[in-house]
Each structure stands twice: as structure tokens, then as C-alpha cells.
């Protein structure tokens, strides 16, 4: 049996450091929002023979006076052109210019969002996060409604919520860093990833807490609370790691082989799920013991 609870202070230090780092990078750089939230157009263009340089494309589109135009290579014979677009006629003009110069080129992918749509997506996303938080908390309250001694049931809920905020903050922080240094943008898929992480993080924590509760109910009372928690952690440790392993295996498969469009989505999930496993082992249960010890001191 590993004495995991005794290592709690290291886990706290590690998590607090990561959380501060995340909050800092979020507040300094913020997330780099994609067209889902800013409005605009992203056009992936496949050229048949020689790939024009980015400058050539910028030159062709010069006349149109596009706002925040960027052109980047996308591997193979494709270029990614993105710009702010007030309405759809701009997209038609852009394409007219490019296909005029390169008649063989095809539009592999075009995503366009009007500003009204992006505003709406932003609002919907915030609401989704809000309702997910409410729903998860209601569920946690429900799942831990039975009072179990010696720690009150709401503290289990609070522990699960803190672990969950921790997982989400670190994922968002990671994408703030990735956005700043790698230009990775976040859109609606990122919100989907965050919500999935919310669900997964709670799922993991609940399994560990469930076992703690069971052991407390069945326990002889001889065992001290921190020991019960530690034993429960050990008993669920293999399951926690194995479950995360299978999920991480599938996510890695998606990340490596699944193609460009869902790469960042699976990356967000990978980060969130990994930290979700970590936090349900080291943080969530640690918090129970910490609150118990604070209670004793009183």
C-alpha cells in the first residue's frame, strides 16, 4: 500500500504552481479565439501543382484590403487563408481573385461566420459552461447527499468541484500558452472538450469518493479517517490509472492518426483527462483529509 495521503503537500505545491501559471498565462495572453468566436473566414485552398508562397497570396489579395489577413502553409499542397469578413460577398471576391490567378486551385474547406453568429456562439458557449457547472454541482450534491462521518457530505462536493476547477483551469492555461506560442486557436470544439473534461474529472473523483464512503460505512471505526482515505485511494488506484490509460490510448490514437481537424480537440481532452486523473488521486482525496485535520484542530 502506498502512502499517497502523506504526499499531499507536494501535490498541493505542484497544483498550486500549475494553477498560478495557468491563471497568469490566461490573464496575460488570453486565449487565441478562432472564427467561431470572432467571426471571419478560414479558407483552406489546395493547389494542384506548385504551391504559391504566402507573399504571393497576400499580394493577390492586396487590393481587397482585407482585415487581419493571414496566410499559412498547411502541409501538402494546401494553404490556409484567414481574414475578417463582414459579409459573404468578400468570400466570393477573395475566391475570384485566387481562382483567377490559379484556376486549378480548389477550396478544400471554407468556414465562414458572420459576426452575429460568432456573438451567439460565444454566448451559447458561456451558457453551456455555466449550465454544465450547475448540472455537475447539482449532481455532486445529489451523489453525496448521504452524510458520512466524520467529514460532512458537502465537503466531498466541494472537493470534487475544486478538483474540477483545477483540471479546467490547467487545460485553459495550456491553451493560452499554446495560443501565444504556437498560434493554436480555440473555437466551439474547445468548449466541447472542456465540458467533456468536466464530466470526466467528476467521474473519476466520484469513483474514489465512492470507495471512501463505502469503507467508512463498513469500517470498524478503529481506522483513522486519513488511513481510510488512503486505503480507498490504493484500492481504486489501479482502476483510476487503467481507466485513464484506455482513454488516453484512444485519445492519442485520435491525436496522432485522426487528422488535422480534430487534433487540437483531442489535445485539449488529453491534457484535461490526464490532469483529471492526477487530481482525483492526489488532490480530491487530499482535500478531504486536509479539511478533516482542520476540523480536528478547532
Amino acid at each position: 500500500m502506498y502512502n499517497i495521503i502523506s504526499k499531499t503537500k507536494y501535490a498541493y505545491a505542484f497544483s498550486i504552481a500549475l494553477t498560478i501559471l495557468s491563471v497568469l498565462s490566461i490573464s496575460i495572453w488570453g486565449l487565441k479565439f478562432g472564427i467561431d468566436f470572432t467571426g471571419g473566414t478560414v479558407m483552406e485552398i489546395k493547389f494542384s501543382q506548385s504551391l504559391p508562397t504566402n507573399q504571393e497570396i497576400v499580394g493577390i489579395l492586396n487590393e481587397l484590403d482585407l482585415n487581419s489577413l493571414t496566410v499559412q502553409g498547411k502541409g501538402g499542397n494546401s494553404l490556409l487563408v484567414s481574414y475578417a469578413s463582414a459579409d459573404d460577398s468578400i468570400n466570393q471576391e477573395v475566391w475570384k481573385k485566387i481562382s483567377g490567378k490559379y484556376p486549378e486551385a480548389i477550396q478544400s474547406k471554407v468556414d465562414y461566420r458572420d459576426s452575429s453568429v460568432s456573438t451567439e456562439l460565444k454566448q451559447n458557449s458561456l451558457w453551456a459552461l455555466f449550465w454544465a457547472a450547475v448540472g455537475i454541482m447539482a449532481f455532486i450534491a445529489f451523489a453525496f447527499r448521504k452524510v458520512s462521518r466524520p467529514v460532512e457530505s458537502w465537503k466531498y462536493g466541494a472537493g470534487a468541484v475544486i478538483a474540477l476547477i483545477h483540471d479546467v483551469l490547467i487545460t485553459v492555461g495550456a491553451f493560452a500558452i499554446l495560443g501565444h506560442f504556437k498560434g493554436i486557436e480555440v473555437g466551439v470544439p474547445f468548449i466541447a472538450a472542456l465540458l467533456t473534461i468536466l464530466g470526466f474529472s467528476v467521474h473519476d473523483t466520484i469513483v474514489v469518493y465512492d470507495r471512501t464512503r463505502e469503507n467508512l460505512l463498513r469500517g470498524s471505526g478503529k481506522e483513522a479517517f486519513p488511513e481510510v482515505v488512503n486505503r480507498s485511494l490504493n484500492e481504486t488506484l489501479v482502476r483510476s490509472i487503467n481507466t485513464s490509460m484506455t482513454v488516453i490510448i484512444t485519445l492519442l490514437a485520435i491525436y496522432i492518426f485522426g487528422g488535422e481537424s480534430i487534433k487540437n480537440f483531442s489535445l485539449a481532452l488529453l491534457i484535461g483527462v490526464s490532469f483529471g486523473t492526477y487530481s482525483s488521486i492526489f488532490i480530491a482525496s487530499g482535500l478531504l483529509v486536509t479539511s478533516y485535520e482542520l476540523q480536528l484542530k478547532k
Binding site: V110, D111, Y112, A128, H203, L269
Partner: protein, 567 residues
């Protein structure tokens, strides 16, 4: 039935389910039995546009001028019109529907396998928006109040009187005109109006000039008030006699201040393109000149048009096409036959193309493209191939992991997992036969692959628990029962949180998220069944006391049990 028989029946059912799942998800397995194959082969997964290539367009109708009770009707009309246009374009399976997004309405057009995206878009964009508007109350909000006008005009008249005195006193008339006249046409020539015949000017002016008895070079002794303002009139000379009499004059005008004539303010009448039955090209005069467009309304439109014309006799009704006024004829009489004519300066070609557009349907409200997602078919195919590869690799690795770690139990779990995957695919295929067809998108596949990883979680929970119970010294079958029983609450609670977030994601409603969330939620629910029921039935059927001597098969060491027993 004995316990053993019950298990046997259940086992048989599981096997049948597994075979059905295999057959539906992978019909090639029976490609040697043509009748079965041909039936099964018809079941297809409905692939999303991101996987088969296509275009997803979202239009926002401008409903601001529509009465809220008529919104549903208008949206239906918009959908019908666009449907007709798209069908005329000949796309294989267009999907056109309207959605609500908060308080807003949207029209969604999904076209699979369209080669020329811009052509499709233009076709929809060209759908005419036809609207009839009637004169509304004039807009007087920008008018100058009457009292202020009165004051201004008093000052103007005073100025005119001062000028008249100067002119009568012999000041240079031309110079006075140049400095003071407010008639832009004549002031620069010193107020000179040239020779005119009688009845050229407004009556008040005319009377003074022709009947005022002025001598050449004389300034009329009083101000002459006309609709334009106050005139100081000077006769310069005359020529001709009788009807040929022409008088050369000059004037100084001090203009009257008045509000501009009210502009006609047209308001919506409810009569729009949705009431149009058909349109034809017509010619105003005999022969082939002056083409015009004749409209025929449907019953509702005929009624509306009759009311409209009845209530607006002597006034104009404006016909707006794509929000531009194209003609505004004055109503002469009530029109009850439901026919109207658009005269405009059409060429024959323009009239013909307008008629064609109108006959394909005219919109009751203008629509605007607000969102587009289009994927080229080859890119879609590439995404499909890549994501399937990721799925096979993911599934394979999870199976390998489970076999290595849980050995015999892992084999059972892997079998349950394969049945799970087969059943998922079957559900996707069979959903096409129900009204709740599931469309598999790229994020949907991602959700599916992720659900494979999550599906074995239930098995892991159960097996870990079972192993624990074995170590505690229970019999294998007893441990297994205990494992399933104890793990169930965790499985249920854990999955509820995933279901909550998936439901919220479905509510969030955009394409990407929906595809992901739907497969995830179906996956979570189904995996609870496969991981628990299927693996339990299999284990109960296969396992017996024989395994007690081969505990390595379930990954438990004998020494561990000894230790537990010693305690």
C-alpha cells in the same frame, strides 16, 4: 428453469445479438450469401458533410418587420421557396430545415456532394425577395415647427420690403438682385428673366407683368407674393403684339421658408412573394416593346391585394424587389382578380429572367448568409479514412491493453467491447430507418473512439473489484457477483456526469459539438449495457470452478490469496 438454463438462454441471446451486430455493421462478412448481403448492404451510415464533402449554409431571415404571429408561416414559406430552388438545381439529397437559435430563426441548407459551392450559393442568393408596400403616414419628425417658420418668413418679408424701397428709390436693380435675390436661376444675371409670353409664370407674377400697366424700366410698386416667396418685379421691355406679345423682365426673390414636401414613406403590407402564384412576361403596348412582368397572386394574395387596392385608391403602392423599389403605380380602382403588373424599365431579357426567378419562388422576407462550412469531397474522404484508422488503432490498443492486464477477463471485456463497437455502428445504420437518424460526423467519430476508451472503464471497475474479492478469499463466482454488484453504483454515478455534460452539449447545438455529444451519449448508455450485461452473462456461462486452479487467467496470484487468508 434452473439457474444454468437461465444462463444458457441469456448466453444464446448475447451470441445472437453479437452476430446481428456483426452482420449489420460489417455486411461483407456474408458477401457469399447474396440475399442476406444485398439487404444488409443497403443499410448505410449517414455520413456528415465533413466526411463526404458538402456545404452547410446558415441563413438568417430578417423578421423584424414581420408580425410575430406570422413568423412561423413566413419561415415555412422561406423554406418552401429555397427547397424548390435547390431541387431545381439537382442536388442529390438536399436537407433544408429551419431552426430556432434563442429568439432567432435560422434556415439551414445542407447540400452533400456539391462540386461547385459558389454556384450553389449564388443560386440561393438569387432567390428574389418580393414585397408590396403601401403609403404610410408621412415622416414629419424632421420638420421645422410652424412658429419658427412664421418668424423666419416675417423677417424675409421685411427684407423684401426694404429692398423694394431701395429699388423704387433708384438703386441699381441688377446689383440689388445679384446681392440679395434668392432665385438661383436668375440672380447672377441681375435677376434677368428674359422674354416670356403670357401664362409662363405663376398667375400672381403673370398678372403684374402683363396686366399691371408697367412701363419699360419701371419697378412694380408693391411686393408680389407667390408660392415661392416675395418678388420685386421690374419690367425691362416688350415686343410683339396680341398673342405674340413678349415681355422682358427681371425680379428679386426673397424666398419663403417652408418644409419640404413630405416624402412618401412606404410601409409593409403583408403581401409578399409568398403570395405569388406565378409570373409571366407581358408587353405594355401591342407588339414587342415595353416588356413588363405580370403577377398572379394565390387566393390569400388576391384577397390581400383587393383590400390593399381598395384602401389605397388614388395613392401609390410600391413594388419592392430585393429591397429596391422597382415601380410605384397609383391605384385607380380596387383590383379583385389577383393580378398585378410590374412596369419598370425592363429589357426583354431582364423581364424574362425576373419572371423565371419569381416563378421559382419569391421570398416573403430577405435572408442573409451568416455561416458557412464547406468541405471538399476529397478532403472529406481523407478525414473519414484518417479517423477510421485512428479508431481501429485505438480499439486495437485498448484490446491489447485489456488482454495483457486482465488476461481471461480482458478477453471477455474485449469481446464485449467489440460487440459494443458493432452495436454502435449498427445503431448508426439502423437509425436511418427511424425519424431519429444519427449523422456521423468527424467529431462524432472522435466521440465514438473516446467512448471506446471509456466503455472499458465499467469492466475495469468490475474486474478490479472481482480480483479484490478473490484475494479476500471468496470463490470466483461469488467474487464476480460481488464485483458486479459493488461496482455498479460507481459505474452509474460516473456515467451520469458524462450524460449531463453531453446533454448540455447537445443543447449548445452547433454542428461540431452536436455530432460529438450525440455519439458520446449513445456510447455511454450502450456501453453501460455491454460492459455490464454482456460481460456478466459471458462470464457466468463460461466460468466455473475449473478456473480456481488457473487463477493466473484472471491475473491473481495464489500467494495473494494465502496472504489474505492468513490475516
Amino acid at each position: 428453469m434452473t439457474f444454468r438454463q437461465k444462463i444458457s438462454v441469456k448466453f444464446a441471446l448475447v451470441i445472437i445479438l453479437a452476430i446481428a451486430a456483426v452482420l449489420i455493421s460489417y455486411p461483407k462478412a456474408v458477401s457469399k450469401i447474396p440475399p442476406v448481403y444485398s439487404v444488409l448492404e443497403k443499410l448505410k451510415i449517414n455520413l456528415g458533410l465533413d466526411l463526404q464533402g458538402g456545404i452547410h449554409l446558415e441563413y438568417k431571415p430578417d423578421l423584424s418587420k414581420i408580425d410575430s404571429s406570422k413568423i412561423d408561416e413566413s419561415m415555412q414559406a422561406v423554406q418552401d421557396v429555397i427547397e424548390r430552388r435547390v431541387n431545381a438545381f439537382g442536388v442529390a439529397e438536399p436537407t433544408i430545415y429551419t431552426t430556432k437559435s434563442g429568439s432567432e430563426r435560422r434556415l439551414i441548407v445542407e447540400l452533400a456532394g456539391v462540386k461547385d459551392i459558389n454556384q450553389a450559393k449564388n443560386l440561393i442568393k438569387e432567390t428574389p425577395f418580393l414585397e408590396f408596400k403601401a403609403e404610410g403616414p408621412a415622416d414629419t419628425s424632421k420638420d421645422i415647427p410652424q412658429e419658427m417658420l412664421d418668424t423666419l418668413n416675417k423677417q424675409a418679408k421685411q427684407k423684401a420690403e426694404d429692398l423694394l424701397k431701395k429699388a423704387l428709390a433708384g438703386d441699381d436693380f441688377a446689383q440689388l438682385a445679384r446681392d440679395n435675390s434668392e432665385d438661383p436661376g436668375s440672380k447672377d444675371n441681375g435677376g434677368d428673366l428674359g422674354f416670356v409670353k403670357k401664362n409662363t409664370f405663376v398667375p400672381e407674377f403673370d398678372k403684374v407683368l402683363f396686366d399691371g400697366g408697367l412701363k419699360d424700366g419701371e419697378v412694380y410698386g408693391q411686393l408680389v407674393e407667390t408660392q415661392f416667396g416675395w418678388h420685386i418685379i421690374k419690367k425691362i421691355e416688350q415686343r410683339g403684339e396680341g398673342d405674340g406679345l413678349e415681355i422682358h423682365s427681371a425680379h428679386i426673390l426673397i424666398a419663403k421658408k417652408a418644409n419640404p414636401a413630405p416624402k412618401v414613406n412606404y410601409v409593409a403590407t403583408g403581401l409578399t412573394g409568398k403570395n405569388l402564384k406565378n409570373a409571366t412576361v407581358d408587353f405594355a403596348s401591342q407588339g414587342l416593346s415595353e416588356p413588363q412582368v405580370a403577377l398572379k397572386f394565390d387566393d390569400e394574395g388576391t384577397k390581400l391585394f383587393a383590400e390593399l387596392t381598395k384602401g389605397n385608391i388614388g395613392k401609390s403602392i410600391a413594388i419592392y424587389l430585393d429591397e429596391q423599389i422597382i415601380s410605384a403605380p397609383i391605384v385607380q380602382a380596387e383590383i379583385t382578380n389577383g393580378e398585378a403588373v410590374i412596369t419598370g424599365n425592363f429589357s426583354v431579357e431582364e423581364a424574362k429572367s425576373l419572371v423565371k426567378r419569381l416563378n421559382e419562388g419569391a421570398l416573403p422576407v430577405p435572408i442573409n448568409l451568416v455561416s458557412q462550412e464547406s468541405v471538399d469531397a476529397s478532403l472529406g474522404g481523407e478525414s473519414l479514412a484518417k479517423s477510421l484508422k485512428a479508431g481501429y488503432i485505438g480499439l486495437g490498443l485498448v484490446v491489447v491493453f485489456m488482454l495483457l492486464y486482465y488476461r481471461f477477463l480482458g478477453l471477455i471485456a474485449s469481446f464485449a467491447l467489440l460487440v459494443y463497437a458493432g452495436m454502435m455502428v449498427s445503431i448508426f445504420k439502423l437509425s436511418g430507418l427511424t425519424p431519429w437518424q444519427i449523422t456521423l460526423t468527424l467529431p462524432g467519430i472522435a466521440g465514438f473512439i473516446l467512448s471506446i476508451g471509456m466503455a472499458v472503464d465499467a469492466n475495469i471497475l468490475i474486474f478490479e473489484r472481482t480480483k479484490e474479492e478473490i484475494r479476500r478469499g471468496r470463490t470466483i463466482l461469488g467474487s464476480l457477483d460481488e464485483g458486479f454488484k459493488r461496482a455498479w453504483t460507481s459505474i452509474r454515478d460516473g456515467n451520469i456526469s458524462s450524460i449531463i455534460t453531453s446533454l448540455i452539449l447537445i443543447e449548445l447545438g452547433t454542428g461540431f459539438v452536436k455530432g460529438f455529444a450525440v455519439t458520446l451519449i449513445v456510447g455511454v448508455l450502450l456501453s453501460m449495457f455491454t460492459a455490464v450485461t454482456i460481460s456478466r452473462t459471458l462470464l457466468k456461462f463460461i466460468l466455473g470452478e475449473w478456473i480456481s486452479d488457473r487463477l493466473w487467467l484472471v491475473g491473481v496470484k495464489k500467494s495473494e490469496i494465502m496472504e489474505a487468508n492468513k490475516k
